[in-house]
Amino acid sequence: MIIDFFYQLIRFVVLVLIQVLILNNLLLPGVFNPYIYPLFLLLLPIRMPIWLLLLVGFVAGLTIDLFSNTMGMHAAASVLLCFMRPQVLKLIEPSGGYEQTDKPSLNHMGFRWFATYASILVVIHHLFFFFIETLEFGQFGFMLLKILLSTSLSLLIIFLTEFFFIRRKSR
């Protein structure tokens, strides 16, 4: 239990650092804004109570906000992701339900399950985030292109990260 907690904490710190030091500084055209930190929220334990999930999401979002001068925007998007997560988990529940030892990762649940799970939630997160970001500029065509391209890039990065950490024994 405590070991698991430390795993989550280390993952959080590493993903936040990758996000704010590398991904936020990529010299890509403005339509590519990839975000890797939602992976931390995706990988939280399946049976985590929803109130705790929401609070963790809020804090994680605020941490990213703190580093990218987007006060509240990532927090709002992360809280929405956390709120939708139990619904999505229920939607794609394998027949026979989740086992006690299951973790919502590519390693445990296989690529097809994880791809569906991550895609739905990352799309929700990015839609909401870029929608808030665009509200004041009003360039909705640009926003749609940005959502499409940034979401694809984020998902690609998230899948690659998960593949990188896949364990040999479960193959």
């Binding site: 704010v20 030091l21 936020n24 500084n25 990529l26 010299l27 890509l28 055209p29 403005g30 590519f32 804004n33 929803i50 109130w51 929401l54 609070l55 999401g57 809020f58 979002g61 605020l62 906000d65 703190l66 580093f67 990218s68 001068n69 987007t70 006060m71 509240g72 925007m73 927090a75 709002a76 809280v79 929405l80 709120f83 808030i132 970001e133 665009t134 004041e136 500029f137 360039q139 640009f142």
Partner: protein, 277 residues
């Protein structure tokens, strides 16, 4: 009462969700106001520390480029020194000059964090209140204008660069030309848009754009960029001008904060005359 309580227990997740979303939105809205010193942003202590440590690593990579840039700037400044001019008039008498009073002071600062691919970008610099930086001061780089200080903490400040929705500065075409207003439309970080130049004025691609005289944040005639393209607007009397910014935000790492020593006097005077009306 019991009903309310059981309702709370039953829908606690949804209520908490709404509560957290509302607090996020309050944060977003509060952060919009331009003059308010935002409580949490990149000039806050923790994030600024992280960026400084990271930046110290990254700096080594760009060291040679940066040295060259500084050397170039030194050379340019050296050219303006008195002893690099040939003194043609032997009769000249040296007097202790009390005619010119210093108007602008420059505080050199290092960029510790910068974003350029967002719709609202920010720069964090490593000088703050303790070094004399204050909100609404102008910031310029070796090649031209950079932005305006938004918030200051003790040792850091966050700057709104040209690449921000709230940024506006008056600018003119050529030295002494017509005044327009420069802003950014959220597109490429290399280009900004100049508005308010009347169609009857003759302009050409390659014309230089300088800061105007009535902006108190920047010295007059600081380079902004050059005209890269322009079209007459069909709806009004002005041109739509694309300006290629002279500052390369992708590679900027040292800037100067401009302190206008007579700004308070000017503002008090203007305030005073407005109140009289």
């Amino acid at each position: 009462m019991r009903n309310i309580f059981s309702l709370l227990v039953r829908y606690h997740a949804f209520m908490l969700f709404i509560l957290l979303e509302v607090s996020s939105i309050v944060l977003i809205v509060n952060n919009k106001s331009y003059h308010r010193a935002a409580f949490i942003n990149s000039s806050s202590v923790i994030s600024a520390k992280v960026f400084t440590v990271y930046n110290n690593f990254i700096e080594y990579i760009h060291l040679s480029q940066e040295n060259k840039r500084l050397a170039d700037e030194n050379a340019a400044l050296r050219n303006q020194l008195k002893n690099s001019f040939y003194d043609a008039s032997f009769q000249q008498i040296t007097v202790n000059d009390s005619v010119y009073k210093q108007l602008y002071k420059y505080i050199p600062a290092k960029v510790v964090n910068i974003t350029i691919n967002k719709l609202n970008n920010y720069i964090t610099i490593d000088k703050g209140k303790n070094q004399g930086v204050d909100v609404k001061m102008g910031v310029i780089g070796p090649n031209g204008i950079v932005g305006i200080v938004k918030d200051v903490s003790d040792n850091y400040a966050s700057v709104i660069p040209v690449l921000h929705n709230d940024f506006k500065v008056s600018a003119r075409v050529g030295a002494g030309g017509n005044l327009g207003s420069l802003s950014w439309n959220g597109g490429s970080p290399e280009f900004a848009q100049l508005d308010g130049i009347p169609k009857q004025i003759k302009i050409a691609v390659g014309d230089k754009i300088y800061t105007g005289s009535e902006t108190k944040k920047f010295p007059e005639n600081i380079l902004v960029g050059i005209i890269s393209s322009f079209t007459p607007n069909t709806n009004d009397n002005f041109y739509d001008i694309e300006v290629h910014l002279s500052t390369d935000f992708r590679s900027i790492s040292y800037v100067y904060v401009v302190n206008n020593l007579m700004k308070n006097e000017l503002e008090n005077l203007e305030q005073h005359s407005q109140n009289d009306n």
